[in-house]
Every structure is written in structure tokens, then in C-alpha cells.
Symmetry: C3
Subunit: 667 residues, 3 copies
């Protein structure tokens, strides 16, 4: 898919409802005598896919060059023999001890300058040429042996790239690789010095070999330096993955390739990596990740409210994000089935939540939802992570809910997902830009996007999340919460839009070199929206501007911009300066409004675009797949869903409890 503009071609996937559930399984962790029974019970409960092998390198190659395939041969035969389709994981997230002992230089180095050791996982630097060679070797060996096995449906590369903050490593080999990367990007050291503005503070380098890593300077490094390091680190992950997909394409024809991404992981460009995949998967832990998304002191109440069912827009946002990376297809490769072990607190889901999460994924277009994991292990790091079965093999609460979904799916034909009326533009490079230079401590790009997304979802409207490579022409509404910088082609594509478009603060605020545009922000966007950002300010909690919206008022916190423009203003700051300006259907929002004001803004926007926004009660959300509308209730009260009078319910009914799901066909 390199080079072109992507279009979300929804509906490529085959929606066979008998093949929409799966599970993760670790045969190497259980006595071989149990495998056959496990496989049979998987099939019996309606699971079609089983992912295996992604942490089993030490069992495949216990000593350098000595492969032991026997156990894996038998495991695959057993699972396939039960009718299960196998997803094989490449085991490169867990190199065995002998490999580390032989090449200790591949161990990663933290931002604190300390090298990490063996004894958990992800103990490698993505920059290491030696490790890439070793990774290719084991992937090649697996693909050679299993690439054409009829039971193997597809591949997962590695596991959760970037997990445990490992996308960036700060060792000597990383420094060397970074220097090579810089030399390629800039051609000459003079060009780098110029691009970074190294005349500032006498930071000019005589050659590429002089450039260090940005983690040990006395005070902050040059932001261009830091951004380039973020880009470099992202490229290393992408290249590492591509080294595997090239082998798998060649040696395992006809099988899909995916990777299981992680929620809110911004340290590498998922869109670029996904270009080498058939579709993206992701690992959905709605409770555990509640802490991660809502990490602001102001979020304590919200975290208490949704502690046992997850945020109403948390999984949904990621379904929509990862669906974009597969042109309409995605999997949930790991679905939380009960309490986990790794969050600061690990509550139990409310009754029904596992079913809700499964249906929600399907409603958002998932091909497959795969539970993590078949059985809770009684040992090692994840022994307190529930599975579908307890360590004593009794079915856990999640298993009952999974079986209920499997049963419900039998009587339901799921159609393909249609494009949503609203596209939200998400950009990893922008995330790095504001990470490097937040300007205000709580200017969090992910949160900004999430707040915009949530405001639209509270209005009952579906959203596609798109990236810089996507075609945006046909969307009735495009939302760009912020786009710090982009290639010219992206600005041009955006500039050609005549339909409703809303740009958020800091859009066009940076050149590709991480500088300020010559004409000031919003840089290239000024061709579409003639304005100049004269001043920006970040605001500590408790400091806010009043907003005037017709005869209503709202407030802006975190961020505000002073615009110079002749455009009409729909919203103004208290002092009369414009806060939301427009030119035709193009709008620019110069602040971070409160949630209710944001909903008001989105309501106006949707109406202008001819959509029908209708504010949902707290915790209730809707999502359409084909002709079916789904409703999900995370309100602590039972809720009536907003189905039309003659709706034919195919799941649940008109009133659903907390954790409840309803679905109906519009007649």
C-alpha cells in the first residue's frame, strides 16, 4: 500500500459469525496430555481462532541453532485437528537467555542510562542489527516449517511493540544507528545544523558522529533533536517488523499477517507499521487501561465511576483507530476476560461487561475478538491475570459471557461496517511533537483527540479515525483536533475539502523541522483559513477563559490562542477575541473547551453537515454495523435505549442494565 492515498474500504472481511471469536493459548505451559481436551472445549464453546507460540522461543530453540519443533508440531496438529484456525506468533519479544548471553550489547538502555537485563520480556533494542538478524532467523525457521500448514490461518509479528516503554533505547548502538539515520535524512551535517537551528546555544556539530542521544543533556535538548530521535525510534520499530513480514509473505503465502498493538501507545507510527500488515489487531483491556488514559488528577471521579466497566469511549476509540489501519478490518487479539494483574488497581468487571466489550468490538467492525487467555497460569508474572478458565480449569465468569456471545452470534448475520459520517484525523508525529514540546504540562495530544472523539460519540454518531494517508474527500465531517505538521500533500488534500471540517489548536504550528512556520501558525492551513496565531498560552488547572457562544457561556482551560483574522467568529473569548472562526464550512478552534462546550460545538457542526446529533445519557453509546444499531450501557442505572418505535431487537431489549447490550434492526 506504499505511496498511495488510502481509502477505508470497509466490508472487505468475511463476516462469518461462527468465526468471530478466538482465544490465546500457550501449549508449552501445560502438560501435553491436556491439549486435546483444551482444543475440543475451545471448539465446543464457539471459539474459531487460537493464537499460540509468541513467547515460546526458548522452547523452539533451546540452544543456539538447535531447534525443537516436535512439541509445536503436535500442538498445531492437535488444535487444527479440533477445527481451530491457528494464528502463529513470532517469538521475538522474548529472546532466550543464550542469545542475550552471546550478544549482551542488544539489551536496551533506559532513558536513565541504565542497561536493562534478562528476566522478563522485550529485553532488546530495535536498533540492533544483530538482533534483527537473529529475529529474521527464527521467523524464517518458523515460516519454513509452518508457513504452508493448512491449520495456520495467519501470523502475528512479535507482541505488543513498544510495551513497557521499549520503543526507545538509549545505548551506544542506538546512538550509532541514530547517526546513520540522521546522515540519511540530512545528507550533510550543515543541513542538520541548519534544520535544527543549532546556532542556538553553540550546539553546532562538526559531523554526524558528534550527535548524541537526547537523554543526557543538562537541560532540555533541542526539540528538533528530540523529535528526530522519536522519528528514528519509530522507524526502527517499523523496520524491525518489516524484516519479519518480508519473510512471512515469501514463506507463508495466503496467510494474513497482523500485529497486536497496544492501547494509547504513541512511541511509534502505527499507521506506517500497519502498511506492512494485512490488518491491525489490538489488545483491549478496558479496566486496566482506564488508569492509563485518564492520568490527570482531575480524573479521579471518572475513574471511580467507570472502574468496573471501563470508559464508554475507551475501547471504541481504539476499535475505530485500528480499523483505519486495515482499511476497515481489525481484530481484537486480546480481550480482557476479568480482573487483570498489572494496573494500579484491578477491579472485577460488572456482570455482563465481557459480553458488552465483545459485542462492542463487533459493532465497531471487528472480524474477530480473541480472549486472553484460555486458562490463567498458576505461575510467573501474569498469574493474577484471569483467563477464560481459572488455574484449576473451572470456567471463569468471563467464559460464561463469551459463550453467551457465541450463542447470540448464531442467530445474527453481521454485515460489513460502513464508513462513518465523521472522520477524526489522528497523527503520531503530532503526538511526538507535543510530547517534545508540550508548552503546558497537561497538553496531551491523545487526550485532546479523545475528548473530541468522545464529544461526537455522546451525540450518538459513529466516527472513523483516519491518518495522514487516508482520503478524506467523501466524509461529511472531518475533525482535526490538531495537526502540528504534515507533508504538503496532506495540507493540499485537507485544503480541497469543502464539506464541514474543524481544525483544533496548534494545527500547522510547526514545520517538518520542528520550527515555527515563517508566516506563523497555522502555517499552510492559512491558505484555507486566513488567520495568524499571534500568541499562545497554556493554563494551569483552575485558570480558564470564559467563552461566549451566542448567549451561552463556556470555558477554555489548558490552552488558548490569540488569533488575528477577519473571519467570522462563532465563539469568542470574554475579551471579544475570536475562539472559533469559520470560512464557509472550514472552522478553526483556538482553545481547549470544557466537555459540555465541546459537545455544543460538535452538535452545531453535525447539524450543519446534515447529521442528526442527539445527546445520549451518561454512559450510553450507540454504534451501527450495517443495518443493525447497537447500544451499550455503562450507566450505573438501567437505561432505555433510543431505538425507534418499531425497532426489531436482535440482542437484548429496550431496557438494559449497567453492562447491558441491545441491538436492533431499523425497519
Amino acid at each position: 500500500m506504499a505511496g498511495g492515498v488510502f481509502r477505508l474500504t470497509h466490508g472487505l472481511s468475511v463476516e462469518r459469525t461462527s468465526e468471530m471469536l478466538g482465544v490465546c493459548y500457550y501449549p508449552e505451559q501445560w502438560a501435553e496430555a491436556r491439549w486435546a481436551d483444551d482444543a475440543r472445549r475451545m471448539a465446543d464453546m464457539g471459539l474459531a481462532y487460537v493464537r499460540i507460540a509468541e513467547f515460546a522461543w526458548a522452547r523452539m530453540e533451546p540452544r543456539e541453532g538447535e531447534y525443537e519443533w516436535g512439541w509445536l508440531d503436535r500442538a498445531i496438529e492437535t488444535l487444527a485437528g479440533a477445527g481451530l484456525k491457528i494464528v502463529l506468533g513470532t517469538p521475538t519479544a522474548t529472546p532466550p537467555y543464550w542469545l542475550i548471553a552471546k550478544y549482551p550489547e542488544i539489551l536496551p538502555v533506559g532513558i536513565d542510562g541504565r542497561q536493562r537485563g534478562f528476566g522478563s520480556r522485550r529485553h532488546v533494542s530495535f536498533s540492533s542489527a544483530v538482533y534483527r538478524r537473529e529475529a529474521r532467523r527464527i521467523v524464517d525457521a518458523m515460516a519454513t516449517r509452518y508457513g504452508s500448514h493448512p491449520g495456520v490461518a495467519g501470523w502475528q509479528t512479535d507482541n505488543e511493540y513498544g510495551c513497557h516503554d521499549t520503543a526507545r533505547s538509549y545505548g551506544d548502538l542506538d546512538r550509532e544507528a541514530f547517526q546513520v539515520w540522521l546522515a540519511e535524512r540530512y545528507g550533510s551535517i550543515e543541513a542538520l545544523n541548519e534544520a535544527w537551528g543549532n546556532v542556538f546555544w553553540s550546539m553546532e556539530y562538526p559531523d554526524f558522529g558528534a550527535v548524541g542521544l537526547p537523554n543526557a543533556t543538562v537541560t532540555e535538548p533541542n526539540p528538533s533533536h528530540a523529535l528526530d530521535f522519536a522519528r528514528f525510534a519509530s522507524d526502527m520499530v517499523v523496520e524491525f517488523n518489516r524484516a519479519q513480514t518480508e519473510i512471512l509473505r515469501r514463506k507463508s503465502p495466503g496467510r494474513f499477517i497482523t500485529h497486536n498493538f497496544m492501547q494509547r501507545t504513541l512511541t511509534f507510527d502505527h499507521f506506517r507499521l500497519a502498511e506492512d500488515l494485512d490488518f491491525a489487531s489490538w489488545d483491549s483491556y478496558p479496566l486496566g487501561k482506564l488508569e492509563v488514559i485518564f492520568d490527570d488528577d482531575r480524573d479521579a471521579e471518572l475513574k471511580r465511576t467507570y472502574a468496573r466497566v471501563g470508559h464508554p469511549d475507551g475501547p471504541a476509540f481504539h476499535h475505530d483507530l485500528y480499523r483505519a489501519m486495515g482499511n476497515g478490518r481489525f481484530w481484537v487479539m486480546e480481550q480482557q476476560p476479568g480482573p487483570v494483574n498489572w494496573a494500579p488497581w484491578n477491579p472485577a468487571p460488572v456482570s455482563g461487561a465481557v459480553r458488552l466489550w465483545t459485542w462492542e468490538a463487533l459493532a465497531h467492525g471487528a472480524d474477530v475478538v480473541s480472549y486472553f487467555r484460555w486458562r490463567q497460569p498458576p505461575f510467573a508474572q501474569e498469574q493474577m491475570h484471569t483467563g477464560l478458565h481459572r488455574p484449576d480449569d473451572s470456567p471463569d465468569f468471563g467464559a460464561e459471557e463469551a459463550m453467551r456471545v457465541a450463542e447470540e452470534l448464531k442467530s445474527l448475520a453481521l454485515e460489513p461496517t460502513a464508513p462513518a459520517p465523521v472522520a477524526l484525523f489522528f497523527d503520531y508525529q503530532t503526538a511526538w511533537t507535543y510530547e517534545v514540546q508540550p508548552q503546558g504540562r497537561d497538553f496531551d495530544y491523545f487526550r485532546l483527540c479523545f475528548d473530541w472523539y468522545s464529544a461526537v460519540r455522546r451525540l450518538g454518531i459513529d466516527v472513523d479515525i483516519v491518518g495522514s494517508g487516508h482520503d478524506l474527500a467523501d466524509y461529511p465531517v472531518v475533525l482535526v483536533p490538531s495537526l502540528a505538521m504534515a507533508e504538503d500533500a496532506v495540507w493540499q488534500r485537507l485544503g480541497r475539502r469543502t464539506k464541514t471540517t474543524l481544525y483544533g489548536p496548534r494545527t500547522g504550528s510547526k514545520t517538518l523541522n520542528m520550527g515555527i512556520p515563517e508566516t506563523l501558525p497555522p502555517g499552510p492551513l492559512a491558505e484555507t483559513l486566513p488567520l495568524r496565531v499571534l500568541q499562545v498560552e497554556s493554563l494551569r488547572p483552575g485558570v480558564a477563559h470564559t467563552l461566549r457562544i451566542g448567549n451561552r457561556t463556556g470555558s477554555a482551560s489548558r490552552w488558548a490562542e490569540r488569533l488575528e483574522t477577519d473571519l467570522d467568529a462563532d465563539i469568542r473569548f470574554d475579551d471579544g477575541t475570536p475562539a472559533l472562526v469559520r470560512k464557509g464550512q472550514q472552522r478553526y478552534l483556538a482553545c481547549w473547551p470544557d466537555d459540555e462546550t465541546l459537545v455544543d460545538i460538535m452538535t452545531d457542526l453535525m447539524r450543519d453537515a446534515g447529521l442528526e446529533p442527539a445527546l445520549l445519557p451518561d454512559g450510553l453509546r450507540l454504534r451501527r454495523r450495517g443495518s443493525i444499531t447497537f447500544a451499550f450501557n455503562r450507566n450505573s442505572q438501567a437505561m432505555e435505549v433510543p431505538a425507534p418505535a418499531g425497532a426489531r431487537f436482535v440482542v437484548g431489549g429496550r431496557t438494559i442494565p449497567n453492562g447491558g447490550v441491545a441491538a436492533w434492526r431499523d425497519e
Copy 2:
């Protein structure tokens, strides 16, 4: 005492009330001309014991092998000559510079991987064979010279093991010693891989030399790895101490050996170490340690309330804990005499508090309470730590209170301490288990035990704290706040109980390998209480379950378990699942209730056991020693003590102020 089951044989100690107070003294820090006067005044104010020498290595052996005993000979003569009994401290907490310069490898390494240096104290790793040899050498020299001196009553080994978080060191020699320890424990690397479940994440080791320390992994290490390291570190402290006691037993016959433990120090097994002592001592700093025990954001109010008098159960808990280690005997080796220097804030005790603390220790069975220190030094790290005298030698406020106690003791015969009706089971290995795997950020084992202890103490009932080696048969009530894992013999001893017993959450939740029991928690306890823990959850502050207790309600926060059982439930969660179940007099509590509910539970329990619980006002506590009942008031108001009508007061009277003490004999 190795091998057997211990019984708290209270009353071994001779309760000569004229020999119940002592003081810590540093002759090397003062001009020799002052010693005689100091000694005379000690004796005059009623102090019987004086501890010396524990930091004076540099003065005993200023250069390698060159001993200078003269000053210490004269100090001992002077003190003994005044009739004082001397406790000699071995100086191994402060090796001199020349020793570190010669053997720099013995310096400890922090969990951050940085080696610590000379210039304060405890700058050694317990794993170092070289340091053990040097420690034996200086102890042998001291014991040879003073072991039979008639003025020497006993020995203190080292000083405050584990202080400044030094029980665990992470250097190369620690790694090597850990590998040796593992080889001894597991016999073969295959056994270790199996026990730890190293098949998980390909963590299998080829040999013991491959196993690293658990402080530098990318993400959390295997919990079995972390727990074994905690066990290893504890063993190193025990072995280090034993190397000294072996010499002292041989060279100083008839003298007691003790060690001064520290409050809330959980990094080594005090019970095991104390097996090599005659009795345990501890260092009681009620104000300074208030911050340490109550380290939760929710405790701010409590810390303000008790800022100047200490928590009503803080010292008491430790008196009862350390009494267990000496079979009914213990000392307070260092008693806070006024404001200290090392807490985040260092308020002055309310008037009377030093007397209260002294009497409280005696009421809980202390043989001796020894004040730290005779005179506040005008230099070095502890110059802001008050003593009985100010740096100008004027008596400080604490001295007046100490003298008052000495006076009061003259007219009071103290009987031995009787066993309490309630035993609370305390277990270091369980503390490490939950430290390694808290599952919820605020699941703090010490706090759990403390909350249970406090609930009983608020009811006016005395408590013995016991360990896994104690005989529990005769106690009317045994409380096990949690016991993660234990040897079979312990479970059997507990299982034989027919009297009132309450087990708390997570009891039996782990095997000795730090895995989940095959039959699920509560593992071996299920033989006593037939139930299975189907699910556990940890809850962030503000998230709680409602509890139904008859027609009262309460709440459970931090932790809750879903039980499967046919047992009767005295308390249920809001959804009807059992929260407190029982079989005869054996009970299991599946949550962490609020303080008032815990008091209610304990009230019921005590009544069932035939005791007479009576809720005391806030800040008031009772404690019996022989036929005397003591009352201690930490309420900001004056309080009337609950003495019977005809009580004969031997200390104070019926109404006592904040900081006040009363004691009466039941007639």
C-alpha cells in the same frame, strides 16, 4: 530454639523495678573528664543500664589490626564503677574508612544499580564474605577483652539491621551469593525453572550462573524470582547476625544477647533472626514513625490528630510483636525522649508523652526501657535529635519525665506479663509476597495487620503477636489477617484449632513457590474452611462494596474476593455473595472492611470467645500486666478511665489528661 514450636513463656524476666530504665551513651564523643559525672548522674536519676560502643569501631581499631582499648577500658570501668550495668554494642554498622578503602567491593549497591559510598553508616552488603570475616574479627576482639567483665550485662549485635533500606543490596557479590543460595535451595536449574514457571516468556535459565538480580528487568521480574531474592536477603542478615552471636555465646558466657530492631522493618525475618538472641529489643520513636506507618494519602487527618503523642496502637503493636520474639521478654533499647531529626516533620511531644511511652512499654511487658540518648550531640547527623540532656548538659524535658517514672517505679512491684487472650499471627514471608505482588497499590500487609490489631485494642483487649513458630492451641482467639503461604506443619497447627479463629483475605493464596494452589486459594486452608476463591479484585480509593451485616451496613475497600462455598455467611456483599463465612468457630473474611465494621466484627468474635469487649473512646487504650491495669490517654481531651468502682490507683487517678497514664489494681 531451632526446630521446635515456641510458646510464649511470659514471666521469665526478673521484674526488679529498680532496674527497668536505661540509657544510650557515647563516651567516645565526649571529653573523658566528663564521664564520671555523667555516670554518677545516670545512677542518681534511676537509670540501671547503659548501652555503649555500637558505633565506635574507628576508635577501637583506628588502623587495621591496631586496637586501642584504653579509652573503652576506662569508660567501662567508670560506668560500672557507678553501679551501671553495661550493654556492649558490636560496631559492625559502621566499619571505618580504612576497611572500606581496602575492600571497596563490600559497599552496597542500591536498587538503582548505584554503589553507595562511605560517609554515613550501614555502607556494607550483608552478602559479603569479606565483611563477615572482618565483622567476626572485631566482635571476637571485643568479646575476648570484655566478655567476662563483671560490669558487662549483655550484648547488642550491630545496630538496627535493615535501616536505610539496606537489607537488600544489588551488586556483583550479591548476585553471586544469590546464585549459591538458589543452587542450595533448588539443587538443579531444572527444578528452579519448574518452580518459578520460567517457561513463561522464555525465561528459562541454562544454569545458576545465569540468574541475575531482580532489579534491572525491562518490566516486573518473575514474582518467584523476586520472592526468592527477598528470602535470600533475609537469610543474609540472619547469617550475618549469627556469625556474631556464635562468638559472643562462646566468649561471653552468662551475658544476654539482643538486637535493637526497628519499627515496621519488613525486609528480613525478625522471628528467624531472634532465634539466635535471648530476647529482642526495639527502638521506639512514636512521633517520628507516625509518618512511616501511615503513609497513605487518606491518613493526613490521623497524622495531624496524633502528631504530638503518636498513634494509640503504634508502639503497642511493636511491643507485642517484639515480646513474641523473646518468649515474653523484650526491651525498648532506644526510647524517643523529645523531638527527633529524621522525620519529615519533627514536633515536640505533648507534656507527659515520654512518661506515657515508658509506662506503656512496661505495661506491655518490657524488662527495660532505655532512652536514646544521654546527651544530644552538638555535631554530625543527629545533632537535632534530642536526648535526656541538651548539648549544654542541662536536663531536657524528657529527663524530667524519665525521673518521674523512676520515682513512680519505686513504689510499684511489676508482675510478669500473662499471655493475652488474643493472638495475632504475623508473618514476614507474607509481607514479602504482597510486596512482590500487591495486586492493588494499597494492599499493604503491615497495615492490614495493624488495622486488625487496632480494632481489637479499641475494644480494650490485650493481644499477643505470634509467628509461624508459635503454639497457638491455648489462645481463646487467633487472628490471621493474612497468611499467603506456609509450611504444612503451620497449616496443620492452625487446622487443629477449635477455638475462635478468623482468617483474612488472601490466606492460602500462594504455594511456597509463589504460585497459585492447584485447588485455588485458600489452598490448604480449604481443609478447615471448605471454600474456593473464584475471583479477587483490588479497588482504588473511593470504590467500595457495601457490606450487609445483619441489619447494619458497612463497606469494603482495597480488596474483595468472590467465594464459592456452602458455609454460612455472617456478612454478605451487596449482591448477596458471602463476605464473612464460618464453620464452627473458624471464620474467613473475604475483604478489607472499614474500621468501624472491623471493630464490629471483632466485637462479635470476642463475645463468641467469651471475652468482654468494650469500645474505648478515641485515643484511650488499656493494657494489663499482672494484676495491674494501665490506661493511656492520647485523646486531646482529659478522659475518665474505665476503672471499676473500687479500683486502687497506683499511678495517676481516674481522670487523666492527653499524655496521661493511670494504673490500678483490680481489687
Copy 3:
């Protein structure tokens, strides 16, 4: 000025109002073609001074020994040609890459033991003899070339010593330099051991080569050790600076030498460094630094109130502090002109704030206020730091305000600053003492001084800040918030005062060796005020003593002392012990009172001294310069200024808005 007692000889400077504004400029960062226009516009808008070159080493000497002066020659000609007076900065805060590559050992080492690298600024240790040699070389080269240039008015040494916490470095060369410094201070290791009290904890050293740095001990180092390291580090900065001023004095006769200090930087003794300067400058960032001064949790409300205009006493305190270092003269070398980039949040100043800050500096006696910087750079670390012009060269909001001040200055003759009636004693050594040994977490010396200062300023009274070298005889009131220790001569000078003097807590609490005085605190002050401090306590937030002041009450938090004295007490603690005692006009305050009580105390004090305190409304402040009284309004409301009925307004009028300034002559 070495050796003598300083007297604030106000009014030395020439107050030519046409030469009171300046700007910082970086010709090396802009195309040469723009220089002439920039220079012309600077002159046109009323700027007289331009500071250049302080970060341009890499352009002056791009390769070792290869100087390129051409560009700087032309820049100087261009600026001077436009009539601007040039301040040349020595570039030693930013050594170029080649210097670091050749001498990597000069890189500083953090308190965490990690060496810092190239890529920002201040990447050097002040202890390095090699770096001093290199610094002297470049300074000599600059001074040789430009020292007699008629356009060069003066010099700034280096830039913001101590910024980014760089005054202290913890590397091998620092250790060696520290050992040399100690040998010089103590003469023999025995003297050091005695002075530090190293007998404590067996810390005695055999020779100076054994003494390490205080950053890697197991627990806190000896406080004498830590204080000496702080003194040493301060001396290194002073020596480093002196190496430059010696050259500049010789090679650039008739030019002033200054340094631009930073707000609230306490890691070196500014008074001692300033002895080598003609006057001190400082860099004033009223919004950004609000976070730094008010770093207590209790300050959130205050930070919200003043987020956009700065604390009413923040800049004022520093004007008064730095004025002391130039005997009545000072500059603001960098004045915040709009939002900056480096604070946690960076709001925009209210309209008028830049003008207010400028006038405030002038009112406090500034010779020159120089804005940072001419134009905001579109690249590198400070690209989000506003200047007088935006990156597109349009004038930013601050430029308009600067031009307004320039215009207002034309019609106003500014007289010299007269000595204030109140002197507040500020002492860096005391700051280090309490940093080393706070005893209570929130005992912050700077804050203590600031609270006292603020209390007087709220009463409308001007304050001089003085140091231990100043003559205090003539001041009607002298305030000593705390003076931990001092040379005898200082105590004698203070002791000779008969006019109103107030000493705060902990005064005289330490000997020069960082021990407790033999006679207890307040040590030498007891000759003036016969009292002994029997006990001190620090109090956690929420714990306070009630104070009795006549029939009013107040409260004391953070700190309280128990005094023994026969002196009269004006204020007592609730238990009757004295809190504020006096002997004639000498007073001692034994606690840290609440703000309102402190204002009451200062009111009484001022009245006793014959001054006329009058409490100002929140946010309003006054300041006199010659016959003009200035008023500054930071209240969110418009305020009426307390001008007498017949006042003739020369700036503004009787009512001024938030951010407003008024000035009037008393008739």
C-alpha cells in the same frame, strides 16, 4: 570592595531616562542582511542598550584556535552605528562541541552520579581547571579584540550561573577540587574530623584524599560535610567568574562588568560573586517563576490568582536583593515580554503587565530594563519563548508596552533611589544550612524571607535587602528572618544596633562548623537578647500553635521554639510560653506565624520605629524613587491608589486597572 563593610550608596547611577531600556539580540541567529534594519528599529523604539554574543562561542571559534571575528565585528559596527550601546556577553555557558570532544572530563556529573552530555547548555563543571583555562582564553580573545571598542559599554560574564541546577557537580574532578579546598580550609585532617564531629558513626578520615562527595552515602551525610560542599561549590562559581573579571578589568578599561543572576537561585553566594562586578543584573520572569517560588501544595490558589500578572512581591524582592549587590545600582538584563516556554504552564500576561514590570523595576531603582529578546526564534529550545517581535518580525504585544514606557520616560526625570527605612538581612550560607538540615520538610529559608518581606510590602513600606557585608547602623528597622551562623564581626555589628530590630527563628542556631553553639541557640545573639532555645519543633501542614497577641489570636505553623528567658513577651503561645520577646528595640520571634499575624507584627514594629504602615488592598503595592511614588495594581479589580489629595500624577491616574501603573509626585 573586598574586606570592608558595604553601605548602600544609592544614586551612583546616571538616571538618563532616554537610556533606561535595552534588549537582548542574537545577530548570529539571523541573516546579516537584517541586522541594520533591526538596529535602526531598536533605536527608533527607544532602546538604548543591546546585549549580544553570550551564546556564540561556536561562531567565534568554530574550531580550536581558529577565531572568526568578522561577523561579530560587523554586528558590533552595525549596532553601534545605530547609536546603540553594546553589552558583550562572554560565551562560557556554551562551550562548543570540539572543546567537549577534546576534554570530555569537564562535563558535569549530576547528584545522581550520571555525567551530562553536550546538546544544550551549561555542560561544564565549575571545578575544572581545564575549563577555566579555556574560558580565560576565549574571554581574553574577546576582550583583546573588543575591550576598547567605543560601542562597547560593558560586559556580562557568562550567563545565569547555576541555571539548570549546575552550580554543583559530582564528578571525579569535583571530588579532587573539594579535597584541595578542604585541605586549605582545615589545614589538617584532624582539624576536619574535629570540626565535623566525625567521631560520630566512625566517620573519621585518615587524610583529605579519603573525603568523598556527599551525594552517594547510604543515608544522609554529615551535615558539616554537606555544608562545606555547598560552600566549596559556591566558591568554584565565584572563582570561575573572577577569572573572567580579572581579564576584563585589564583589557577593557572603563567598561562596566555585570552578570545576569537568576531569581531564587541559592546555590552560590551572589553577594560574594558580586564583589567582582560593578553591579548585578538579573533576569526577571514574573509569570514563569511564580511556580518556582510558590512550590508548596498550599499555594495553588495563589498561583491561580496571580497566574497572568505575577506575585505582587516576586520581582520586587529580587529588585531589592540585586540592588544591594551594586550598592544601589542594578539592571534587569532580561525582562519577560510575553508568554515563555519553560514553566509548567505558560499563560499570557494581562494587558499592561509588561509595562507594569518595567516601571516596577525602574521604581525599585533599576538603571536599565532590557527585554529578552528582540525577536522570537523560530527554532531550537526557546522557539516558544516570546520576544518583542514574533518570528515573522511583527511586533508582539510586549513591544507596544515597551514603546509606551519609552514614551512615558521622555517626560519624566527619575531621581536616584534613596535608602529604604527597612533593611531585610539575606544570607546564602543560611540558605545552605537549612537546605542541608531543614528539620521540617517545608522549612524553606527563601520563603521565610519572602514572607517577611511581603508582610512589610503589604504595609506600603520600602525595603532594602542587605547581606552580611552591609552597614546596618542607620536603618530605622532591620529584619533578620533567620541567620543560622555568621562571623563574629557580623554579630557585633548587629549587636551594636539600638534601633528596631527583629530576629526570626533559628537565628544563631549553628556554629560556623555547622554544630550547635555551646550555650545553645541563639548562640552569639544571646548577648543582645538573653534567652536560650530549649526545644524546637517542626509541624506538618494542619498542625499549628495558637498565638496570643494582646486580645487577638493568630497561629504558628511549620516551626516553633520553646524559649527560656526573662524578657518581656509581646506574643505568647497558647500554653503561655513566649513567642515574641523583646529587650528594648531588639526582638526575637520564635515561630513562623500566619501571614496576617506577620503583618500585625510588622505593623507594630514599623510604628515603634516611627514609620507609618498602612495596609494595602490585595495585589496593590507602592514604591518610592526620589520624590515619585509609584503604585502597581495586580488586583483583578481596578483599584484606587492611595495618593494624597493634591498628588500630581506623572504616570496613570488615581484609578488603575489590573496590570495598571500610577505614579505621582508628593506636593
